[in-house]
Every structure is written in C-alpha cells, then in structure tokens.
Symmetry: C2
Subunit: 465 residues, 2 copies
C-alpha cells in the first residue's frame, strides 16, 4: 500500500482539528503507542492524537483520506492480535478521551456509552442499577468497550449470555471518508436492511471509528455459586464440558485450566491454593440466577456429570473473597505465563465436543516441534487459549520452525469444524493463517466490503487480510 | 435495471442445469409463485425452477449472471414484505426441494439443515432429542428455515432466547457469480475477520442463496407456565411490559394482544374464549425452565408487577391443550384479521418502554386518517405488529392517503428510537419508507455491499433499497 508521510503542514492541520494539546509527537508518546499486548511487537506512529468528539474525528479522517495518511484506531491497548499496531506509521487515533457513560436507561434496560469507557467501569456502573452487562474479557480492568466491539469480545459469561454481538444495539460511527452515521436502531430486533451494526462488530477498526455505543442490558442475577472441579487428565476435564450441556445444564461460566497455568499463577500472583499432586486439570463452573434452590439443583446435576469423568474433587467457593480468588486465578493466567517465558498466544475455538481431540492434538504437535503449551479458556464455548512456551526450543527454531507448528494447530482446529480466533481477532499476527480456514473467495468478499467503507484503505491498514 | 428476458435457448440451458422435470413454465405454476403473503401483490416469473442441490444453483446463477437474468429466491412464501416477489420477472428459484435435516449433532448441540425445511418440522425434530431451536415465527407451520435466515426472523421466544441471529453459526451459500462458500465456522464464537454469516442474516436473498444452515441448539426446558393477563386499557398493558423487566423478570414470551384481534380470532377460528366486556388488552406471558418452583416464583413476581397496572384478571393455562389454545389465538391473529378486511401489515419495533407512546400514537394517527388498526405482537422486544384495516376509508383514500398515515407511524417509530421492521423485513413494500430512518449514506453502504456480492445485481433485484 502506498501511503504518504505526515508533513509539517499536515501536522499543523491535525493540530487545528484535534487541538494542539491532544496531539503528541514526543518520543515517549510514540513509544507508548507503538505496541499493545501482542508479543513484543513495536510499530511507531508518526503522531498520536487524542480527540474528544466525533466531529474532530470526522475532520481528521477527511484530511487523512484526502492525503492518503494511514489512521490506526486504538482502545485500551490490551489486544493480543496486534490490531492496534500502526504498521504503516501515520496517525495513531487513541479513543482514551471518549470516557462518558452517556446514559443508563433503566426503563428500557439499555445504555449509551463512549468507546473509551473501561469495560469494568461500565459493568460496575450498570451493576449499581441492578443491571448486568455480561461481556467481561479477562482484561476488563483495562480494556475499552470500543475495543471489545472491534474484536467481537467474549469472556467467561458467553456460555450463558452470548458474546458482545448480542448486546450491541446501535453504533454511532465515523466512516473513513468522514461521514458520521448511526448504523441501526436502539431496538432488540432489527430486520431493516443489511445489519451494519453487526458488520462493525469484529471488524477491528478497519471499517469505521466507533464514537457511541448503545448496549442492551439484562437484569442482574442476585445469586451465584462457583465450583472448582479437579481432574487427573486434561482429556477427561475437556470431555466433561460437552456432557454438561448434553445433560441439559447451562452454567453461567465454564472455564478450563491446565495445571501448569495454575502453577504459574501461584508463582506470579501469590495466590494461596493447595495444588494437589494428582490434579492436572480444572473446570471452573459458575451458576447464576435469582433462586438459590434452583441454582443448587443445577449444582447437584452437574456433580452427577462430573463423577462420570473421574473428577477427583469439587470445591465450592462460598464467600465473595473465595469466588474472587478463583476468578483472579483464571483471569491472571495469561499475564502469569507471559511473565515467566517468551510465549505466543493462539485463540482456537471448536465445537465443544471436539475439545478433547483439540487439546490432545496440541500436545502431540508440541512434542514434535519441541514447544510446551499452557491451555485454558472458555471451554463451555469450545474456546481454548493456547499459550505456546519457548521452553527448550532454540532461538532459531522459535523463529523459523514454530510457525509450522502453529499452522498444524490451526489445520487441526479447522478440521474439527473450528476457526482460528474465537475472541482475540485476526489483526496483524493471525492474518497469515486466515487461508487455512477461509477461501480466497471469502477473503475477497471481505476486501470488497472494506473497499465500500474505505475506498482509499486508510483505516487500520494491514489488518485481517 | 436493465435485465434480459429468458430466451428459448436459455430456457433449454436451464432445463439441462436443473433437470427438465423441475423447471416449470405452465400458467398455474407461474401464478402460484407470483405472490406470497404480502397484501394482494402479484408479479409473474418467466420460469419457476426447483433445484435439488447447490451445484445446480451454482450453474444456474453463473448462467443468469452472464446473461443478466434476474433470479428471485423463495422459501415458504409466507413473507409479509414481498421479498420473494419476482418483480423483474426472470427465474423464480424455489428452495422447496432442500428438505433434508442433514444432522442433529447431540454431542455439540448443533444441527445442519437445508433451507427448505419447514421451521416447525425442524423444531419438532430437535425436540425429540431434548433440544430446543427457539426461533418460531407465527408462520412456523409453513415457513422455511431458509426464509427465516433471510429475514432475521424472531417469534415470541426472542425475549428470552434471542433472534435467529444468535442461532445461525455457519452457512453454505452460492454467490450470484456461482461460487459456493461456507461463510464462517461451526463455532459459538467467531472473531476471524468480517462476519459474513451475520451479513447474510436479514439480507433477504439479495446477497447469496443459502444452501446449508448450521444452527446452535440449547437444552429444551422441561417445564413452562403460560399466563393471560387482562387489562382495561392498551396503554396500561403496554406500560406493564417494561416494568416486568425492570423488576428483574425475564419471561420466555411476552406478547401483547388488542381486544379487537381476539374478537376476530374468535370469529375466524372458532376458539372458545370468554371475552369480558371491560377487557381491552391482553398480555400473554410465558415462563419456562426445568424447575417448577423457580417458575412459580417468577409467576408470583410478575403478578405483583401486573397489579400495579390495573390488571383485572390473570388466567393460568394448566393443561397442554389450554396452552395450545392461547398460543393459537395469538398465532392466527394475522390470518383472522386478513380474513375479515382489506388490510396492510406494518412491523414496528421500539425500545420497550416506548410502547405506550407508540400504541397511543398509532390510534391517534388512525383517527386522523380514518383507518382502524389492530395491534399485537412481541411486546417484550418492543415489537408491535400493526394491522391497518380499511374500515370506513374510501377506496380512493386507501389508495392515495393511507401512505401518509403509514409515513407518520414510521416517523413516530423512528422518533421513539425504533425502526421500521423488527422481523418482517423490508422487501418490496417497505423500501420506500427506509429513508425515514436511514440516511442516504447508510443506504449507499448497503448498495455498495450488494455490489460486492452481486456485481450485476441479478439476485432478488428491487428489494430493500
């Protein structure tokens, strides 16, 4: 792609549009915004801008579109696929000043928020009104709701409540050509032409810049129970997952954790946890609702299923603190693994009954290529995060041979009916793997759609395809 | 649009592709496929084809694309917006021979079906495995699951289970240019580039022809309770709807019915029902689940809410027959109204707390234009179907002035944050109203997407925009 550089004259115009105090070209700023949470990748923007309203973004995009300057939108910078990396330089458009929770509409169980609101802040704000926004990725304490929209984010509660796709009703967006539109309507149902709202979700900031978000909310369940089930084998724990649903049980969360992940969390996070020698895998199972009797009935039913899969122990988290500790264990797992070793993260998802085949396959591929792996994730959705650990692999093999191993993992995922990302997105680092699952016809349709929204290809270039 | 007519030579080629016994040009066939359930509209195709596999559709579309022949896909023919009407003639592509339920995957709670399967047949088939496919439009006994995909269909259970959008995982489609692709993966989560599966849903057969459908299923609840609540005023019944959710209650169905609708069902369908003089509106409220105690607790909670809105009576349907009778009353309402009078159907949807303003506004607009209306629908989703009755309106006013009244209804809907169709689609008859809600920029984006999939515009031309 042929882009232009930002000249002094253009920079002056950007300062007029955005306001000089919100335009940064100092080394520290360029460095801060050169990376997200994706491995150790760095790409430097030419300028970082932090606009405060949609009109400024509109003017900025018009200018950049006219002059063929790349613009990379960025949320909380917690992405794992490099979607926020300004790989062609240009303008880094940080949404961090879009911080308003504009309205929590308790009559309609809806809210209107700006994309720079931290997901957990939003969850807490609606929680104070007795409402639930159930999209809570592990990074909820620092990711932005706008980034969640861009990646079609999930989190542990998808298994009962669905992904963010089911909670976004309407979006105000600025097109790369500068027009500001609402994509749909503030309604729970929509059959009024192509669903542009759904088109935006998961488009990783390549089609438009989201400036307002209307979400659906649901009544917040008053009660929950959290259980931790221990297993001797990964395969048995994974096999129990689909059996739980087959028994007619729908938990509000169903997470898998491998022993090694728990070991590293204990080291990293100083969590007190009695890790028994014969335990190699865990399922973290949550039920929520308003009726404790009904929740206990579900717990009894799930216990009967777990027994069939050689579950050695079930712990019940009784107090809020115990629940929080167990959830913290799960949530800090990625960070813990990262703190211990050079690693790569993959985000496979398969039909859930294929999980045992997937995890066995990953270990077998690892043993052939010489890498270790720590697997955990949203097993109830068939979504397994794989942390690939360098371990004894030589620097050269890590650099040159690992890719073949990853290709094999995705070929397996695809053969099992799955896909190469469940919730982390494609961004920069996964795009080379897209042809494993999707034909050139599919990719060309995506490119065509991109061209409709962004004829000059200025918005977040180099991502997805 | 400039299309060509089907020459004798082209017809011969179509016969070779489809197989002569499945190609129809007789008057009766052309007449049968000239209309759907949309008012009294008729448009005659030049030929009706009933292919049996995707390869034949691929060859057909290649031929028609090359020769600029319009192709209109058709499901069960139950549409209310004219999306299946062959307004430019050409080929009417009936999907009625795609009748296979290919797999019910009880391990993964998924199914693969062909688009010509009748929705109710599919619901019953998965029900035998203890599974629920909760998308059940009123026309479920005759509509096709492919048509439901095309229209983003809903039905009464959306309020708890979501629309068809949340149940379609993956689609095999034939593009207008003849390529056959899968749009996504058989997974509950998907963050692998633009979501082409979601793009297809609600696109009304204008982007591609669906030939296989992979659906999500959920465990079938074992118990349900159905309640019929009576109100003296429409407004009170409508106001109770949002109050129910604000009280933290999520029913599995929450339907509104106006008195007049019930009167006409009683006439049309010979249903025994004691319609009291002082009752003018009803809410039909269902709870489902596995735990009867928990369901009864919800019933008690909802009763407390209903009391606040001058609900005069609550009937509980105890037996399967009583439940079926009440549901039949709701489901046959459109047909009953249609049997009694010339009518038009609109499909408004608003944020649910706006329902009282919507229904009062509709009545006020009707009184100014001289039309009566019967309103009913999926109130829990804010989705109100409006049957506009000719009543005392002169033929001339019905023909010339009614449209202004409908424009006012949609302007009101839009002002309340709603949109002009919740589940019936835009098709032919609603497209003139799209600019009330959507800017030319939105419509141009839709046209652009259409051009990516269908460069010659042969597939279902004249619909949506």
């Amino acid at each position: 792609m042929a882009f232009n550089k930002i000249t002094t004259d253009l920079l002056d115009q950007i300062k007029i549009i955005i306001g000089a105090p919100n335009v940064f070209t100092d080394e520290e700023s360029l460095n801060t915004y050169s990376h997200d949470e994706t491995e150790d990748l760095k790409y430097y923007p030419e300028v970082v801008v932090k606009p405060t309203d949609a009109a400024a973004i509109s003017a900025l995009l018009k200018l950049c579109n006219e002059h063929h300057i790349p613009v990379t939108p960025r949320g909380g910078g917690t992405g794992l696929s490099g979607a926020a990396l300004p790989v062609y330089g240009g303008v880094l458009l940080s949404m961090e000043k879009f911080k308003a929770i504009i309205e929590i509409d308790t009559e309609n169980l809806q809210a209107t928020v700006e994309p720079g609101v931290i997901t957990e802040d939003f969850i807490n704000a609606v929680g104070e009104h007795g409402l639930l926004y159930p999209v809570d990725p592990s990074s909820k304490g620092s990711c932005f709701i706008g980034g969640n929209v861009a990646h079609g984010s999930g989190g542990p509660r998808v298994v009962k409540y669905g992904t963010i796709r089911e909670y976004i009703l309407n979006l105000e967006v600025v097109l790369p050509t500068g027009e500001i539109i609402w994509t749909g309507a503030n309604t729970l149902k929509y059959a009024s032409g192509y669903n542009l709202t759904q088109m935006m979700i998961g488009s990783e900031g390549t089609l438009a810049v989201v400036t307002k978000i209307v979400t659906k909310l649901v009544p917040k369940p008053q009660q929950s129970v959290l259980m931790l089930a221990s297993f001797g084998e990964n395969e048995k724990a994974c096999a129990a997952v689909s059996a739980i649903f087959r028994a007619g049980i729908v938990p509000s969360a169903l997470e898998f954790m491998e022993r090694k992940g728990v070991e590293w969390v204990i080291k990293f996070d100083d969590i007190k946890f009695d890790l028994k020698d014969d335990v190699n895998a865990f399922l973290l199972i949550e039920f929520d609702g308003d009726d404790m009797d009904s929740i206990f009935k579900d717990c009894e039913k799930v216990n009967l299923v777990l027994e069939q899969f050689e579950c050695s122990e079930v712990l019940f988290a009784d107090t809020a603190q115990q629940k929080e500790d167990l959830w913290r264990m799960r949530r800090t797992m990625a960070e813990s693994v990262k703190s211990n070793s050079v690693y790569k993260e993959e985000d496979t998802v398969v039909p859930r009954a294929a999980l045992p085949k997937l995890i066995n396959g990953i270990k077998e591929i690892g043993s052939r290529y010489g890498f270790e792996s720590v697997c955990y994730g949203h097993a109830g959705d068939g979504n397994l995060h794989i942390n690939i650990i360098k371990a004894g692999m030589s620097d050269e093999d890590w650099k040159n041979k690992l890719k073949d191993g990853i290709v094999e993992i995705f070929e397996l995922t695809s053969a099992l009916g799955g896909t190469i990302s469940g919730e982390h997105g494609i961004g920069l680092v996964q795009k080379e793997f897209m042809p494993i699952k999707y034909s050139q016809i599919n990719l060309n349709l995506m490119r065509g759609i991109k061209g409709v929204f962004d004829p000059n290809g200025i918005l977040n270039p180099g991502k997805i395809f």
